[in-house]
Amino acid sequence: MSDIVISLDRVNKWYNPTFQVLKDCSLDVRKGEVVVVCGPSGSGKSTLIKCVNALEPFQSGEIAVDGVRLREKGVDLPKLRARVGMVFQNFELFPHLSVLENLDLAQLKVLGRSKDEARAKSEALLRRVDLAAHAAKYPGQLSGGQQQRVAIARALAMDPVAMLFDEPTSALDPEMVSEVLDAMVELAREGMTMMVVTHEMGFARKVAHRVVFMDRGEIVVDAEKEEFFAANGNERARVFLSKILGH
């Protein structure tokens, strides 16, 4: 099973002794696979994805990324995180750096690339997300959709083994959602391993291989896409789907 990039094994997390946010969550993401995680708000899906690159600690169970176990003693977390790209709901570009510098920073300081090497990589990625003309601008001068595409490019600059998306379109104005989704669809079609927390079921239908449905900290459904969207699936998932699809 060497093609498993991300594996979660009975992950449990409590915020305090009484409130459990994640209950026995197990999940495997294979190389090149796109897994969409959905569920009502407060179901723990964002927390789950943040556990994958150890931005959130968890108390029991194990997560392995590209064969490296997170809770193993002496694991180099910064090094591990550098290999997993993450895109946040609120973009989180660095406002004091230009777009190009946002892409360069971690390449220079974490990967130790030379200035020329980093610059070439950054410029190529900006062309890819169609933002080459904005390289010298600052994040505050861009629209939300443009900022999120820069954030995707910034994560890709690290040549990650997988990409994590934490509700990448939910802070966007409606007219900007599609430009970000298009960039993600393209990425998925190129074979990137992706774990995506989103309510965009159109995206799920288009490129997901599997859909995971979470409710109250538990993974309730983990199914192939076709099976998930079939009419006779899990009831909680059906209720949720009918709510967000509006019928």
Binding site: A82, V84, F88, N90, P95, H96, A106, K109, Y138, M158
Partner: protein, 230 residues
């Protein structure tokens, strides 16, 4: 009122006032600001990311410094530093510390407490997502602070840091208690030597006002140039 006013007195005193007095004042201000910001940043980082004991010690230091009158601290340091130096270096008798060194040490340590609070507030004002994004890219905690958080803090806190520096510039006049030749000290010495108190104290006030006012105007202009667009 100005019939007795002797402008020539000020004219004759200018070289001494500026070449000695103002040079001393500005040197002390700049060095203490630089040292204070540097040490203040270290203190703020220790308080926020050090262990519980470390952060309690730092908090104690900051609160102590901020609760004492500066004048008292200047006095204490002036008398204590030679003995502390003796103890640290194991010298047979109290070491000699010049007035300037003592004043610089005092102001640096005192201002560090204020600067550390400014910087701590600045760090806490940066949204958590920034540190999370930096961590997600593989930056270590130290790199996150250095390349992502602190550059934003210094930009947003620039007006407050500069205001604090202008206050420090005025506060350096307190070294008169050590009979040092700062700008006010020199003015005061000439005033008493020549019996020209009105001329020199008025002139001194004017100079402090002009410099502080211009500096705060310049600070405002600088602020709009380095402000971060969010």
């Amino acid at each position: 009122m100005f019939s007795n006013f002797d402008f020539g007195e000020i004219w004759r005193a200018l070289p001494f006032l500026f070449l000695d007095g103002m040079r001393f004042t500005l040197t002390l201000t700049f060095l203490a600001t630089a040292g204070g910001i540097l040490l203040g940043t270290v203190l703020a980082l220790l308080r926020l990311s050090g262990g519980r004991a470390v952060s309690a010690i730092v908090a104690g230091y900051v609160n102590l410094m901020r609760s004492l009158p500066l004048l008292l601290v200047i006095f204490w340091f002036y008398f204590l530093v030679p003995y502390v130096g003796q103890w640290v270096m194991g010298a047979p008798r109290p070491i000699k510390v010049g007035g300037f060194t003592s004043a610089l040490l005092t102001f640096t340590l005192f201002e560090a407490a204020y600067f550390s609070e400014i910087i701590r507030g600045g760090i806490q004002s940066i949204p958590n997502g920034q540190a999370a994004a930096a961590a997600a890219l593989g930056l270590t905690h130290a790199q996150t602070m250095r390349y992502v958080i602190l550059p934003q803090v210094f930009r947003t806190m620039l007006p407050v840091l500069l205001t604090q520096t202008i206050v420090l510039f005025q506060d350096t006049s307190l070294v008169y208690v050590l009979s040092l030749d700062d700008f006010l000290g020199v003015a005061s010495k000439i005033a008493q030597r020549d019996g020209r108190l009105v001329e020199l104290y008025l002139f001194a006030a004017l100079v402090y006002f002009a410099i502080s006012f211009c500096a705060s105007q310049a600070a405002r202009r600088l602020q709009s140039r380095v402000a971060i667009v969010r």
